[in-house]
């Protein structure tokens, strides 16, 4: 059997589909925090591995873009490597690990520590876009609740946490109200990252491929993490500094160093950590001279 060689379009997805996704993204930007349904396509990744993010990136990416892909904050985790290679193969766009150089950052589970700038676009891979899903399994009902601005149910969950534990026990995918209207799931980023969304100069786009939803936080939009007046939102914080670069006020990964309970904590953002470490070494050299 002679098989024809398969040629792919730039960015993999065909132009009609890209146009459709761009229209949906524009609608999402126009209604901050609202989940816009879209006819999600299959891409060469399994569902649940970032197919939403990949479709957004594929529809946004152009010749002048510089792409950064992170997973768990790191450029070097397997899924980040795989997605970066995929886009390099189908769009031959320039890639980087440097947050400040990137125009487009596709991410799973983190927002970079380096502050984002105007003109940058964050693309999030979203597993479950519906913040009310585990409180109400039916899409027909949750859409009603959003339409009618009925979010009492979400507060019941927070109330139960406080009654049980003395504080809100949601640590990631911590729900937010966007622009004072829509309840939104910020994807499974740690609550540590939530404050970075409020009045951010960058555009944040969220793509849920399997669930077929796109939503957005436009630049300079109010993003309020839920809480009670007497139990306000408190992002998680780490007491110890990074064991490599010494940074504080950053999100840390725990590294198990032996089988006797030994552990140390290092930056989850690998690019940020490398830069800080380089800076530190330079300063160190300066002192020795």
């Amino acid at each position: 059997m002679n098989s024809a060689k398969i040629e792919y379009n730039i960015g993999y997805i065909d132009e009609q589909t890209k146009r459709m996704i761009r229209r949906v993204m524009l609608k999402a930007v126009a209604i901050p925090g609202f989940q816009v349904p879209f006819a999600s396509r299959e891409v060469p990744l399994p569902r649940g591995w970032g197919t939403g993010g990949v479709q957004l990136t594929a529809s946004l990416i152009g010749k002048s873009d510089v792409l950064k892909v992170i997973d768990q904050g790191s450029d070097d985790t397997t899924n980040a490597v795989s997605i970066r290679k995929f886009f390099h193969r189908v769009s031959s766009v320039e890639t980087t690990t440097d947050t400040t150089q990137a125009t487009l950052i596709q991410t799973r589970h983190r927002i970079p520590e380096t502050p984002l700038q105007e003109g940058q676009i964050m693309v999030y891979q979203v597993p479950l876009p519906e913040p009310l899903r585990f409180l109400e399994p039916r899409e027909t009902e949750t859409r009603q609740l959003h339409a009618l601005n009925e979010y009492g149910l979400m507060y019941v969950k927070l109330y139960e946490d406080i009654a049980k534990y003395g504080h809100i026990a949601k640590t990631y995918d911590y729900p937010v109200i966007v622009n004072g209207r829509y309840l939104m799931a910020p994807s499974p980023t740690p609550s540590f990252d939530n404050p970075k969304l409020h009045q951010s100069p960058a555009l944040h786009l969220y793509g849920a491929g399997r669930e077929k939803r796109i939503y957005a936080i436009p630049p300079y939009t109010d993003v309020e993490s839920l809480g009670f007046e007497d139990y306000p939102f408190e992002p998680q914080a780490f007491e110890e500094p990074c064991a490599i670069c010494g940074s504080t006020g950053v999100y840390l990964d725990q590294i198990i160093t032996d089988d006797k309970g030994g552990a140390l904590y290092v930056c989850s953002d690998s690019d940020y950590c490398a830069n800080k470490f380089a800076q530190l070494s330079k300063e160190g050299e300066g002192v020795s001279e």
């Binding site: 059997m1 396509r41 990744l45 591995w49 997973d71 725990q254």
Partner: protein, 365 residues
């Protein structure tokens, strides 16, 4: 000093090399070619075409080999490839009544116009492992059993006597059907959209759901009105030509399930139907699909609707094997960050618990 783990790229390359080696198996055994799969495993190929939503035996064969027989993975490959194909139009509806059936059976009437025709079927075979030589002898004896008489669809015969609900309501504006690959699904769905979802739905999932309706979870009293397998012509109406152009033939399996219905305030008692249509030879899938289609129509007939197979949102949002497999398997991806967040919380809760209990002990003393 600790150095963060690097080398994701290298690890991935190594893993892929090992995968290729595993797939090749024993080098002394000849490699299986895609055309061998497409021609000798037609049922498997049909499944990949159905759930991959793409009629292309050759690509399905390639996908099956590339995935080392992992059928869900092969379906994912075909779907991903399908994404890259531009849509240049929609074909005319196929006419299954005109297909010269290779197989055509009805469980509702002993003698039907045009006759019963068994065709290629595993029915009535003894499920015994055969020796390869025995299989070859069977082939030599295999005769063409293709009828040349008219074989109208059983449902058309029943329908003309108004015993069976019509194909569609009268008057009918023949609306453009939905296209679930181009428009996001919204519940409740149209029946056309639902049927598309079922056609690409996981065979095992639909089988189990269809089975559940036979066991009292949404009973619909089904009879296999007709199952037919054969090739039909696909035609495309090119606007610039003004007439339909034949594009080629595809093999399909159609199942019309006939179901009991007792009538209501507005309607006399008549039979209703569930419909299944799939690519290639995939009879079990077509039957399961038609059972579930009928179960999902409960609201249309004011039937009690409380079984899983009658729940549109439950069935359609969990039927797709590409979605289901991907999301289950994504649990293999790193979740360091969210796990760390939870770890942090559990530690804090344990610490607070300890402190609280220490306080209580002090109070006790």
């Amino acid at each position: 000093m600790y150095v963060a783990v690097k080398g994701g790229e290298k690890a991935i390359a190594n893993a892929h090399a090992l995968l290729a080696k595993e797939g090749r198996g024993n080098p002394a055994v000849p490699r299986v070619e895609a055309d061998a799969i497409a021609s000798q495993l037609p049922v498997l190929t049909s499944r990949v075409m159905n759930e991959g939503s793409l009629y292309d035996r050759e690509l399905a064969g390639r996908a099956i080999i590339q995935c080392q027989g992992d059928v869900v993975e092969a379906i994912t490959l075909v779907r991903a490839y399908r994404t890259t194909l531009p849509r240049f139009g929609y074909s005319e509806p196929i006419d299954t009544s005109a297909l010269p059936p290779q197989r055509r059976i009805s469980a509702t009437f002993k003698d039907v116009p045009g006759g019963q025709q068994l065709g290629a079927t595993f029915d009535y075979t003894h499920r015994l492992l055969t020796e390869p030589t025995e299989a070859d002898i069977s082939i030599e004896n295999g005769g063409a059993d293709t009828a040349h008489v008219d074989q109208p669809r059983i449902t058309d015969i029943l329908g003309s006597a108004a015993l069976l609900e019509p194909d569609h309501e009268e008057p009918w504006s023949d609306p453009e059907p939905a296209d679930i690959t181009r428009e996001p699904a919204e519940y409740p769905m149209s029946r056309a959209a639902r049927l598309q979802g079922l056609a690409r739905g996981d065979e095992g999932f639909l089988l189990a759901l269809g089975y559940s309706t036979q066991r009292g979870f949404g009973n619909t009293h089904p009879f296999a009105g007709e199952i037919r397998v054969g090739e039909v012509m696909v035609e495309f109406d090119a606007p610039e030509l003004g007439f339909a152009v034949p594009l080629g033939r595809i093999e399909v399996t159609e199942c019309q399930m006939v179901n009991q219905f007792m009538g209501s305030h507005d309607k006399p008692a008549q039979f209703t139907r569930g419909y299944g249509l799939v690519f290639g030879r995939a009879e079990r899938k077509a039957m399961s699909m038609s059972l579930v289609d009928r179960a999902l129509r409960a609201d249309e007939f004011d039937e009690q609707s409380d079984a899983p197979a009658q729940d549109e949102e439950f069935v359609l949002s969990h039927a797709d094997c590409v979605q289901a497999a991907g999301f289950v398997e994504h649990l293999k991806l790193p979740h360091y960050v969210d796990f760390q967040a939870e770890l942090h919380l559990v530690r804090k809760l344990q610490q607070e618990f300890g402190e609280q209990h220490a306080d209580e002990q002090e109070v006790d003393q």
